[in-house]
């Protein structure tokens, strides 16, 4: 990691250079309620004061909601299958720490056991520039240990008085800043001091602090407590919104689409969610998770236990998207704590 200083005056021209030279994706206001990550064509469109986007920025590009993965053709009795892989260079600007941590998680998922080229080829061609954020009501990344990110980006910009503290994590990032920004210098003692203070202050701003560790420890104890899970899942719509907006969720369905001529077809994967009843349904009609209680429990287990055992990390970065999106007011943060309360009572 290199630590550099970008003067405030050079900031705009740096960003403008990037907009000119890259397929630049950044946060932009969408409507009165939300922002979205989309193609940016001028500096003015970029709105870094965004709090959170409905759909996580990287997920929508690296693992889009529907994606063609194979195409096929039939001619008489011959069949041909061909891979479809996309990999154009894209620059993602303004990503927050939690979301970069989520990318790091997905990187692991898609490269473990088998390499998923549909994801990885896009990932290899993605430049990521992170920026600071302000926590909001539903954020609990601090509690998940994801409020700070140390890898998975090329550059990370933190605003200090009159200047930006830039963490340079890759040589590609270094080239970018060398080439497109002027007045770059190395960070000095004063800069580090102010930066550390800033991060320290940032960490004090969180309102939610669920104790995920205790969930992990107590989960087995409460696993069979049907009353508890019924209570937690009472209003769940089984709509899967929580998973679909989650930056670390990656479950997908595969389906085939064929043209009316019955000659050409494609295989598509699309986002699925473990909250949807059909998720655990197999041919013959057996459903491994028939009730919403089963499913919610599964989701929490996957987020807070499975991947701790598997990758030594939570599959939740505490971004709070699921809490905000849930129309049934179900909150992973409060449920983490209610597991503990329930067990200690």
């Amino acid at each position: 990691m290199l630590y550099k200083i970008l003067p405030r005056d050079s900031y705009q021209s740096f960003v403008e250079n990037l907009i000119r030279n890259f397929d630049f994706i950044g946060p932009k206001r969408k409507d009165k309620a939300t922002h979205e990550f989309t193609k940016i064509t001028s500096f003015g469109e970029l709105d870094l004061s965004y709090k959170k986007t409905t759909i996580p920025p990287a997920k929508q590009i690296l693992f889009p909601s529907t994606e063609e993965i194979v195409e096929y053709r039939r001619e008489d009795n011959s069949i041909e299958f061909r891979p479809v892989v996309e990999h154009s260079l894209k620059l993602l600007f303004g990503v927050h720490s939690c979301d970069i941590n989520a990318i790091n998680f997905l990187d692991k998922v898609f490269s473990t056991d088998f390499s998923d080229d549909n994801y990885l080829s896009k990932r290899r061609n993605m430049v990521i520039i992170g920026t600071d954020c302000e926590p909001r009501e539903t954020c609990f990344c601090l509690a998940m240990g994801k409020e700070y990110v140390t890898a998975g980006f090329d550059l990370f910009l933190s605003e200090l008085t009159n200047r930006y503290f830039v963490r340079v994590a890759t040589s590609q990032g270094n080239k970018l800043i060398e080439k497109y920004a002027s007045g770059i210098s190395s960070a000095g003692e004063k800069d580090f001091k102010e930066y550390n203070e800033k991060i320290g202050d940032f960490r004090k701003k969180f309102k939610l602090s669920p104790d995920a560790k205790s969930f992990y420890d107590n989960f087995d104890l409460i696993y069979n407590d049907e009353e508890f899970w019924k209570k937690v899942a009472k209003n769940c719509f089984s709509c899967g919104s929580c998973c679909l907006v989650c930056p670390t969720c990656f479950c997908f369905n595969v389906r085939d689409e064929i043209e009316l001529n019955l000659k050409e077809g494609k295989r598509i994967r699309e986002w699925d969610s473990c909250m949807i009843p059909e998720y655990g349904l197999v041919a013959g009609g057996h459903n491994f998770r028939p009730t919403k209680e089963n499913r919610l429990k599964q989701r929490y287990q996957c987020k807070l236990k499975t991947f701790v055992d598997k990758f030594n990390t939570y599959a939740c970065v505490g971004c709070g998207r699921c809490i905000e999106t849930c129309l049934a007011n179900i909150s992973i943060a409060s449920d983490i704590d209610s597991v503990r309360k329930e067990v200690t009572v």
């Binding site: 063609e68 993965i69 194979v70 195409e71 096929y72 039939r74 009795n77 011959s78 069949i79 041909e80 299958f81 061909r82 891979p83 479809v84 892989v85 996309e86 990999h87 154009s88 998922v109 898609f110 473990t112 056991d113 088998f114 390499s115 998923d116 080229d117 549909n118 087995d220 696993y223 990656f250 479950c251 997908f252 369905n253 595969v254 389906r255 085939d256 064929i258 019955l262 077809g265 295989r267 994967r269 699925d272 473990c274 998720y279 655990g280 349904l281 197999v282 041919a283 013959g284 057996h286 491994f288 998770r289 599964q298 287990q301 996957c302 236990k305 499975t306 991947f307 055992d309 598997k310």
Partner: protein, 282 residues
């Protein structure tokens, strides 16, 4: 930029041909399959308990266990029940038709090496016999490596009994014990009646010298395991094949997870010990 690459991804099947179809019951057929590319066919090797993902053009893809003997290099065989889209389409296909194959998949298989020099107890329910056939055929090839072999097989009714010929052959041999049972007998049935679990108490293999393998419908496992535990078989010596919904077969789609395991890459065969603490496993 969408590239049509020549480099294959994990989602691209190889083309294979159905060389033979045999109807074994009103709902099950056997399919012999050979890869179109001879080199691929040569290289294709698998272990008992592994499965392939099979594509029917335009319809979709589904996982099926390989039932043939791993020593058989000429073709591999699947036993498929007509139950849905892909399986239904397969049942309408003719010999010579082409399908797509990915695999073999599954890292957990029936550990035939560990079974050597032990008694082997095989418990199959319904279609569960299909994946076990691969194991049975394989160990029968080197029968001398194993001690006693006992096969317990339960079917719904006499008509749905799979592999009748093979079973007939086994019955003739004196080095295998075969116990057949059906839930719903017909007039001609003279054998055992009831679920296969009922037969486990009769097993007289010493637990410390026996390996057990189990495959059957989801409901079967709980009861079989209870019976096996009564017999004090060590959980490490009991192997079960756990099937779940699979969309990819390669550990990405996450549909087949059982706690922190994925049936497709960590299984589908697990030891009872491995899943002892896995919620929802059985």
């Amino acid at each position: 930029m969408k590239e049509k690459e020549s480099k294959k991804t994990i989602y691209v099947p190889d083309i294979a041909k159905i060389t033979r179809i045999e109807e074994v019951t009103p709902t099950e057929k056997l399919f012999n399959i050979v890869f179109e590319e001879p080199k691929k066919q040569e290289e294709f090797s698998f272990k008992p308990g592994q499965f392939v993902e099979l594509t029917v053009f335009g319809v979709g893809e589904a996982p099926f266990s390989i039932t043939s003997n791993p020593n058989n290099k000429e073709y591999f065989q699947l036993c498929i029940r007509n139950i849905g889209n892909v399986s239904g389409a397969l049942h309408r296909m003719k010999e010579g038709s082409k399908v797509g194959i990915r695999g073999p998949f599954g890292n957990g298989y029936f550990p035939y090496e560990k079974m050597k020099n032990h008694n082997v107890l095989i418990i199959a329910g319904g279609l569960g016999l299909a994946p076990l056939m691969s194991l049975i055929r394989y160990i029968l090839d080197s029968r001398d490596d194993y001690k006693e072999i006992m096969i317990i097989y339960g079917a719904v009714n006499p008509a749905s009994i799979l592999y009748k010929e093979d079973i007939g052959e086994w019955c003739k041999r004196d080095d295998i014990r075969v116990c057949l049972t059906v839930d719903n007998p017909d007039d001609k049935w003279t054998g055992e009646i009831g679920v296969c679990t009922n037969l486990i108490p009769r097993v007289d293999f010493p637990p410390e010298d026996t390996k057990v393998v189990v495959c059957g419908p989801p409901v079967m496992y709980k009861y079989v395991v209870q019976e096996l535990e009564k017999k004090e078989f060590a959980p490490e010596d009991v192997y079960l094949s756990l099937e779940r919904r699979m969309e990819c077969g390669v550990g990405k789609c996450n549909h087949c997870h059982i706690g922190n395991k994925l049936s497709c890459v960590d299984g589908p065969v697990f030891s009872l010990w491995e899943i002892k603490n896995l919620k929802e496993a059985i």
